[in-house]
């Protein structure tokens, strides 16, 4: 166990190394660049490879290639780069290639506010690429959580053969605070399932019981075809609607089975609460402060922090929302997660947004003034 002073982007790089990441491809962009900088130093020390590509599209493609070779891979970016990566993120969903994509959010759209905090990519992280697909999105609120969730992102991506988005924000990325770096062996690391059948019997998109087909690395003797077209169990393209439906139903089965193992939330001050503040990322830090002040003023307020944004923790929220006088959704955008919260709790509880989108971080007063409105 080592005590270290780090910023969130550094913690992400360390988390990746501990998780077993041995390839990074990216293109520098504020406020994510320090992840690339750190990994350019750390990866060669563990015989990993670092490459700065010509752009974000190519770097996303590069990590998919590396992952197909059996190497855990990472890319990191911010808003404009995240938009560019979407096409290949869809390819990763279609072909079920494990990989981790970090988006350290800045204000948008377009070039937006490069150095300013925001949480405007909540919806894009889920629906940025076209077509029906599933994806897991995690979001840290501290340096320690950034480390922990980076490791979890890799574990989830490997276990379920899926891209995972780590949705950070500028505050968490650039904030320096103390974190505990665990010793190797103190932390669970998951590697993807490999095929146990003979190479000629290998079906890379087999409908297994858990919905996760084993994955063979290129060059390991298992030949297989990878395409962005809808494909059958062998990986070759198909127009057979029965097979297309079967493949998509398997994706759904896979994520339905995974759902409860990838959704993390933290509930505080909930025993007697009449109001709940729901938040994520750096807004959750502000929420804790706001709850403390509200309680000092005699208001019974609790909070839920979502560490997993997608699948959305609607079930968890619904369970604690019964009988509440109101829910505040605190986020640094014009109101994105609030739609999911409303969907989860229905019409029984009044839901209001505490929104900040001027490039400054959320302030406790932004939340307290909304609680007063109930």
């Amino acid at each position: 166990m080592i005590k270290k002073m780090m910023h969130g982007n550094e913690a992400c790089a360390y988390g990746a190394i501990i998780a077993g990441c041995r390839f990074f491809a990216g293109y520098p962009i504020t406020p994510s660049s320090e992840i690339a900088e750190e990994l350019a130093v750390l990866l060669p020390q563990v015989e990993g490879k670092f490459i700065q590509m010509e752009d974000e599209i190519a770097s996303m493609a590069a990590i998919l290639g590396a992952s197909l070779n059996g190497i855990k891979s990472l890319t990191a970016t911010s808003g404009p780069g995240f938009s560019l990566k979407q096409e290949n993120i869809g390819y990763a969903c279609q072909t079920e290639i494990p990989c981790v994509i970090v988006n350290v959010q800045r204000g948008g759209p377009s070039t937006g506010s490069p150095t300013m905090p925001s949480q405007e990519d909540f919806m894009q992280s889920r629906w940025g690429t076209h077509g029906d697909h599933f994806i897991v999105v995690l979001s840290p609120s501290s340096v320690q959580e950034t480390f922990d969730l980076t490791v979890k992102s890799f574990n989830i991506s490997e276990k379920y053969r899926t891209p995972v988005i780590l949705l950070m924000d500028e505050i968490v990325g650039h904030m320096t605070e103390k974190m505990i770096l665990p010793e190797p062996g103190e932390i669970e690391i998951i590697d993807r399932k490999k095929p146990s059948v003979k190479p000629e019997d290998f079906r890379p998109y087999e409908n297994t019981e858990d919905g996760v087909p084993p994955m063979a690395a290129f060059g390991s003797g298992y030949r297989h075809h990878v395409t962005g077209l809808m494909h059958d169990e062998t990986g070759f393209p198909t127009n057979n609607s029965e097979i297309i439906q079967k493949q998509k139903d398997r994706w759904k089965k896979k994520f339905d089975l995974a759902r409860d193992t990838v959704v993390f939330t933290e509930l505080t001050d909930a025993e007697d609460m009449e109001y709940l503040v729901f938040s994520y990322g750096s807004s959750a830090r502000c929420t804790r402060k706001a709850v403390k002040i509200a309680r000092e003023n005699g208001l019974k307020v609790g909070s839920m922090k979502a560490l997993t944004l997608w699948p959305f923790p609607g079930k968890e929220l619904e369970k604690v929302s019964r009988g509440l006088k109101g829910i505040v959704v605190a986020e640094m955008n014009m109101g994105q997660a609030i739609r999911e919260v409303e969907r989860a709790v229905g019409k029984n509880v009044k839901v209001l947004g505490a929104n900040r989108y001027d490039g400054e971080s959320m302030h406790p007063d932004d939340i307290l003034s909304v609680i007063e409105k109930f």
Binding site: K3, K4, M5, T30, P114, T115, M116, I171, H174, M175, T176, E177, K178, S282, R285, C286, R288, K289, K292, S361, H363, P364
Partner: protein, 184 residues
């Protein structure tokens, strides 16, 4: 009784304010066993443009990492002084660089110290780049929030290799300057 001490280091990009913020936070959290967060706000330019580094030091977990009730303001430009001077809390301390702040406004309820920061760095070391260390010395002396040795440990661990000596000397000079200011 728990405490929370907020330091705002403000000026322009390139003045090294983010670095001394990280040094303060590391001195508190690693070498003095307190809790600390350092966060920052800056523009897209690599030099120039407003830059702000905020350090929260506490003996408790730090929930909200941004400054809301500033105990200590260091203003290294006129713009920083004008923008943040009045946001310093009652009984707080404001130090400004006389080289950079020419028309300091009257501030109520705070102790204001004009200091030669950039000027000293140039005069003593011929290097304006160590002005941040001079400023750090003054901050440590006047705030009395951290021990001088813990800060020196943090300086050694954070500044580029080979520059420890000059940075520590500049820090010492600032610390002495702080004593002088206290006597005013």
């Amino acid at each position: 009784m728990s405490f929370r001490y907020e330091i705002r280091l403000s000026g322009a990009g390139g003045q090294g304010l983010i670095l001394i913020g990280k040094i303060l936070a590391e001195a508190a959290a690693i070498f003095a066993d307190l809790n600390a967060t350092q966060s920052q706000s800056y523009g897209p330019e690599s030099r120039g443009g407003a830059s702000r580094s905020e350090v929260i030091i506490s003996d408790e977990d730090i929930d909200y990492p941004k400054a809301g009730n500033v105990d200590f303001l260091l203003a290294m430009t006129q713009e920083a002084f004008d923008k943040y001077g009045e946001m310093t809390k009652n009984g707080g301390i404001v130090v400004y660089d006389m080289e950079m702040v020419h028309t300091p406004r009257q501030l109520e309820g705070v102790r204001v110290f004009p200091a030669q920061i950039t000027e000293l760095a140039i005069k003593e070391f011929s290097k304006p780049i160590v002005a941040n260390m001079v400023a750090l010395g003054i901050v440590i002396n006047l705030s009395n929030i951290l021990g001088i040795e813990t800060v020196k440990e943090a300086i050694k661990s954070r500044v580029p290799k080979g520059t420890e000596e000059i940075n520590l000397k500049a820090f010492d000079l600032g610390y002495e300057k702080g004593k002088e200011l206290q006597g005013l």
